[in-house]
Symmetry: C2
Subunit: 169 residues, 2 copies
């Protein structure tokens, strides 16, 4: 095996800090949402469904958008359905499988959780950054996603970037 | 309930891109480690144990360092023990609970996985950044962790920042 090009101290310090920051940030977000009996995974599903026309979409498309493996998503949606947050049905239009729809209870859940969620995002992340840093994070994030997952993930066609729902991501 | 200060379009674009980037990056790392029959969680535990004197530490301290809840960590360590990667024992010195130690198989696993792991980190993240961006990410990460988790998580006393093991995080 070829010897790897190890990280130098500056790169390693950055990677380690970034690694722990991701975890700390995720924990803070999970803790805030837990007060509303939601996980971040629940919230992610609810926000996508709440933003789309008719609040229903194919499970396959949902998985593509939020980048989940289909088995993980199917399992998670089953649990959300048992809690009344979404409901699933066969697609009447085609044979491309299952639809997931937001229920009134799911809509209420996200409406109640969203203000606290955006406040937590501001406190723990957004409001800590300068304008220049916001631009840098955007640029780096798009570059990394493009390198990892190909051009389809650059976010340019993401319907959720509609300004009217800003902050519910 | 007070109306939240929603994200503006620029902030929301950043948050959404950052959210998906974290997921894309994590998926790439998981995929690389899966080729070595390891999860990123396994790797994180193994790297911390491999870097510490004697390759053994208290489970409680391990949890503090990698920021896991104790129940999640206990569950994960049980599974890693059943696979022969670590072994657990009662601490002989005190009553502060369980020790976790790297096994020879665990050491071999991380030695085999580390070169590909650092190559993936470079390809998907580090090598995509300029020197200035590396400094910015370090600064933001430390700021966010400090804001979220308090001064104890600023990384200043993290033994794993030893340059000799750079890149195995």
């Amino acid at each position: 095996m070829t010897e790897a090009r190890w990280l130098d101290e500056r790169e390693f310090t950055m990677w380690r800090a970034f690694f722990y920051m991701r975890r700390d940030l995720e924990r803070a977000i999970e803790a805030q949402l837990a007060a509303h009996d939601l996980s971040h995974a629940d919230y992610t599903v609810l926000v996508v469904l709440s933003e789309i026309e008719g609040q229903v979409m194919r499970v396959k498309d949902l998985g593509t958008q939020i980048r989940w493996e289909s088995s993980r998503l199917a399992h998670h949606l089953r649990r959300m359905e048992s809690r009344g947050l979404i409901c699933r049905s066969d697609s009447p239009d085609d044979r491309r499988g299952t639809l997931a729809a937001l229920t009134p209870a799911g809509l209420r859940a996200i409406q109640e959780a969203a203000p606290g969620h955006v406040t937590a995002i501001r406190r723990c992340f957004v409001d800590l950054l300068t304008d220049e840093e916001i631009a840098t994070i955007t640029s780096i994030s798009q570059r990394v996603s493009a390198a990892v997952a190909g051009p389809a993930t650059d976010g340019a066609t993401d319907p959720a970037t509609d300004g009217a729902t800003a902050g519910r991501g």
